[in-house]
Amino acid sequence: MNPIVVIGSGLAGFNTVKEFRKLDKETPVVVLTADDGRNYSKPMLSTGFTKEKSADDLAMASPEQVAEQFNVTVRTGVHVAGIDTDRRRVLLPDDHLDYSALVLALGADTWTPPLDGDAVGEVFSVNDLMDYGRFRQALEGNKSVTILGGGLIGCEFANDLSNGGFQVSLVEPLGRCLPMLLPEAASAAVGRGLESLGVTFHFGPLAKAVHHNRNGQGLVTELSDGTHLESDVVLSAIGLRPRIDLAKDAGLRTNRGILTDRTLRTSAPDVYALGDCAEVEGHVLPYVLPLMAGARALAKTLAGEATPVSYGVMPVTIKTPACPVVVCPPPEELEGEWDVQADGNDVQALFRDQEGALRGYALTGEAVKEKLKLNKELPALMP
């Protein structure tokens, strides 16, 4: 029998394998990955200085250890070039592999808007363990970092790098921290928290260019309002886009992500998708909680018992200890209002729909303790 082939060795790929092996010890499984195949937890990349962890410390297992632990084959450094869904075959650079079932756990790509300047090639983004290793190396002996983007990843790095003793400047065109996730009062609390660590904000302008400093030391980031920010290192944390190209080229249906039904089935037979690359019945949720729900359901499906995934309440914890945040964003386009109670940096913002029902929340500071209570009041995202 042809193996089950999993593309991707991130949390989605490896957790699917782990959960599947709890149910089926025999069926051959091959994991293909473009990276080095070490098992690591991506959320830990933005707490590395606080926890004093190097890239090697964060690697929980080598690909050989994963292979042995789960009785699977792991092929690293392999970039899958195409999928032939009629022949049930993945196309490798100079080889191919036939599958009985295929799991796409491809993740998301970092996205940075086009920048000018002679140092654009030196702008970092940190989206996997290998990136993290290079980033840590670049920081060695240096003192200052400019972060582009004040979303989850940008704010977490701002906190972590400050804890690591770096002087951090953060550029966010939308004018406040976590603008896509939080109402204003909560953003302000996070901003004050990070400011207390010494982070300086540049709210409003866009980054236009990154140059080498003329004196030969470090980099200069040029903003659309004319500001020049000097720093040793520049980190881009602007956006993530689900990796859909491989699926799209193979004729699978895609939208923002690779489209799946509730059993994580794509539009091609025996091809499944989960994690950051997937759009599950309209939901693109690039977080670990939904991915784990997906891995457990998919493991059962692959083991022969078709199992739909359910999403309960899906809160997101943002690792900014200077001002802790938990947010459960209300459904997009739902009409309603935020009811905000703020006491210093402790903000409780509750989003209620027009019938007055709780549909989302944002909590900062001490108010994060209300999370579990509020979760009970919220409807499940996809019951």
């Binding site: 949390l11 937890s41 959320p43 670990v288 784990m292």
Partner: protein, 54 residues
């Protein structure tokens, strides 16, 4: 009393505090937390936690 950290997301289970809202009383030892309990922040199981010294 010990503390246990989720290796995936960093959530900390403190035996002293328990998780009363989830029905886990203060003082509940890690080994007495139900086997099917999952991390409230990221959903991984008990096997993905390790003991930490604080």
């Amino acid at each position: 009393m010990k503390k246990w950290e989720c290796v995936v997301c960093g959530f900390i289970y403190d035996e002293e505090e328990g998780l009363p809202e989830e029905g886990i009383e203060p003082g509940t030892k890690w080994e007495d937390v139900p086997e099917d309990w999952v991390c409230p922040d990221c959903g991984v199981g008990k096997e993905d936690f390790e003991m930490i010294e604080i």
